[in-house]
């Protein structure tokens, strides 16, 4: 290594300075703004906004949609990762491309496609009505849109880990007659544990915060199809700034928990390997 010269010291500290200013201005300040705006009129007003009936319902709906998205994407992610990394078959490349597709689609379009598939102008709409199934402007639509925008989040954490490790251990276990579930539970899962948790956290983060797609499909029915981010929007557009930021602060709290969980998982994952 070189000795630090004076000029390189100047470069170093000015780069650090620029970076810190950028991070503070672009990332930290918005966070602080949410908190200060939320408590602008004191704790009582904050508490009222957060415990408001519609807010509580929005929290439950957000948790419900997030949980369902995580569960379905877990089932999907584990299946897709197993299928793609353990077997050779034609069309694998296309399959992996299709799985990654949803993240490149604008959230608005993600909402739109479900509107077209299950909405009034869909060919299957009469059928849905007959069976009294509501998808658009209802909870199932919100869940579907949420699954769509978080679709590859778990599988793409798992696939590289499984791919880099090869299939020797699984083959060895299968040769000895172990069943699929045993192989997965005892041999494979310990290897992907941290990557899996990481994917779950990313999936949950995006799912609880999804706005555009859910906004298109939900119909903004307060108390029924309003998730937390949508609730924030409604309050903000009604110029109820303090309640809007108070509700937003719940999401900030969740985001911070997610960031901490993320770095803990990353730290543990690195330590183990």
């Amino acid at each position: 290594m070189y000795k630090e010269t004076n000029s390189s010291k100047i470069v170093k500290w000015s780069l650090i300075g620029i970076s810190v200013i950028f991070v503070v201005l672009m990332l930290l300040l918005p966070l602080i703004t949410v908190i200060t705006e939320a408590f602008k009129q004191g704790f009582a007003v904050y508490e009222k906004a957060v415990t408001d009936n519609y807010t509580v319902k929005a929290i439950w709906l957000t948790l419900e949609a997030t949980a369902l998205a995580v569960i379905i994407n877990t089932v999907f992610g584990l299946s897709a990762a197993w299928s793609i990394t353990k077997f050779q078959f034609k069309g694998k490349k296309i399959l992996t491309t299709l799985i990654d597709l949803p993240v490149t689609v604008s959230p608005i379009i993600a909402g739109l496609i479900f509107l077209l598939t299950f909405g009034r102008q869909s060919p299957i709409f009469p059928l849905l009505q007959e069976w009294d199934i509501k998808i658009v402007f209802a909870v199932p639509g919100i869940v579907l849109a949420t699954i769509f925008v978080t679709f590859p989040f778990i599988s793409r954490e798992l696939i590289p880990v499984l791919e880099s490790r090869g299939n020797d251990e699984e083959e060895a276990a299968a040769l000895m007659g172990a069943k699929g579930w045993t192989i997965f539970r005892k041999i494979t899962f310990p290897h992907i544990k941290w990557a899996f948790l990481y994917g779950v956290v990313l999936c949950a983060a995006r799912a609880m915060g999804e706005f555009g797609a859910v906004s298109v499909i939900s119909g903004h029915l307060r108390g029924k199809t309003n998730t937390l981010p949508l609730h924030v929007e409604i309050l903000f557009n009604e110029f109820q700034y303090v309640p809007a930021f108070a509700v937003a602060s719940i999401l900030v709290l969740l985001a911070i928990i997610i960031l901490i969980a993320r770095s803990l998982i990353e730290y543990n994952g690195k330590k183990k390997v």
């Binding site: 020797d168 083959e171 060895a172 040769l175 000895m176 007659g177 045993t182 005892k186 310990p190």
Partner: protein, 352 residues
């Protein structure tokens, strides 16, 4: 024959991994499947194990065609090149895995694992994880794990490839001894000729998906049937035209001449040489010290040959003119190899 392959063919895309492979193995034998990388030896092993399926042909074990029998029901122990030890399980659990799958009672498992741990000499390390073991120890665990369910056939894929040279030597002897002691029919794959010669009862040599020769190590080494086998063993010097070497028969259509170091006798001008009259003159171009002796490169008749001398013999320096006598040459015609002897060996020796 305990294990028999009949007309096995296998493609991977356009690549022909097995080209009409047939051979048989007697019960209790230790077989070395030898060949360069890409020769299809690992594919053969994986097909016997059931990890790959042949395109056509039959695999027979103990008189039964097992093509359709699932891998786990073939009664085969498999040692992977990478060992494929379960990294999140202890040594004990690794060895016990196959028995647990068979739902053996706990005390039986304990007994069997203890027996195997003792056999591989790793007592006291049962609770270690594979990452806490040395390469040689891992190999032993992989071996024990494969043996745990009492397989009738043991397959080993490049069992020594991942181990450093010194330990490898030791493990080879250990493995040969173990297998002889247990009497389990075994096939191991290797690209290392020394390894095959040292360890195997019988060698099967593969090249480009085909079997070139099968035989005892000494037979395969000293009497190669094909051009490939002749050039694969030893440390051969290969050249096209041997007509300058006067004392050998000329064969019609000869394509290559192959001379192994042990076919060449190099003597200093001051030394006595039994066949001096029929020796050729050469110039030493390189002298290299190998652990076991001295290796010379000698330019004779426009061809560079490799020869060996022992440390006890007078030293030779680069640029020195020497006498070179060649006992034998392998000559290849097409796929076949012929052994030619120096004619002087058959003539009465004229002592000067």
């Amino acid at each position: 024959m305990y294990v028999e392959l009949k007309n096995i063919n296998k493609h991977f895309g356009n690549f022909k991994a097995s080209d009409n492979v047939s051979f048989g193995i007697e019960k209790g034998k230790l077989i070395g499947l030898l060949g360069p990388s890409g020769s299809g030896k690992t594919t053969i092993l994986r097909m016997i194990a059931g990890l790959e399926t042949p395109d056509s042909g039959d695999i027979i074990i103990d008189g039964k065609v097992i093509n359709k029998v699932p891998a786990s029901k073939r009664g085969i122990g498999f040692v992977f090149q990478s060992y494929a030890l379960f990294r999140y399980m202890t040594v004990f659990e690794n060895i016990a895995f196959g028995l647990r799958v068979l739902k053996k009672p706990n005390n039986e498992i304990k007994e069997r694992v203890a027996e195997l741990v003792k056999l591989i000499g790793l007592e006291g390390l049962e609770n270690r994880y594979p990452s806490q073991l040395s390469g040689g120890q891992r190999q032993r665990v992989a071996f024990a794990r494969a043996l745990a369910p009492n397989p009738q056939l043991l397959l080993l894929d490049e069992p020594f490839a991942a181990i450093d040279a010194k330990v490898r030597q030791e493990l080879r002897h250990w493995l040969k001894e173990m297998i002889a002691k247990l009497g389990v029919t075994s096939i191991f794959v290797t690209h290392d000729q020394d390894e095959a010669i040292e360890v195997a009862d019988e060698i099967i040599i593969m090249n480009k998906g085909r079997i070139d020769q099968i035989g005892k190590p000494l037979d395969v080494y000293s009497a190669p049937k094909t051009a490939f086998v002749a050039s694969f063993f030893g440390q051969p010097s290969i050249f096209r035209d041997y007509s300058n070497f006067r004392r050998f028969d000329i064969i019609e259509g000869a394509e290559q001449a192959i001379v192994r170091p042990e076919f060449v006798k190099v003597t200093k001008k001051t030394e006595t040489q039994k066949y001096r009259s029929s020796a050729e003159e050469g110039i030493v171009t390189d002298v290299a010290f190998r652990g076991s002796g001295i290796e010379l490169s000698v330019l004779v008749n426009g061809v560079t040959l490799t020869a060996r001398r022992s440390f006890d013999e007078p030293s030779i320096s680069v640029g020195e003119k020497v006498d070179v006598f060649i006992y034998r040459i392998f000559v290849t015609v097409g796929e076949n190899a012929h052994l030619l002897e120096n004619k002087s060996l058959r003539e009465p020796v004229v002592v000067i």
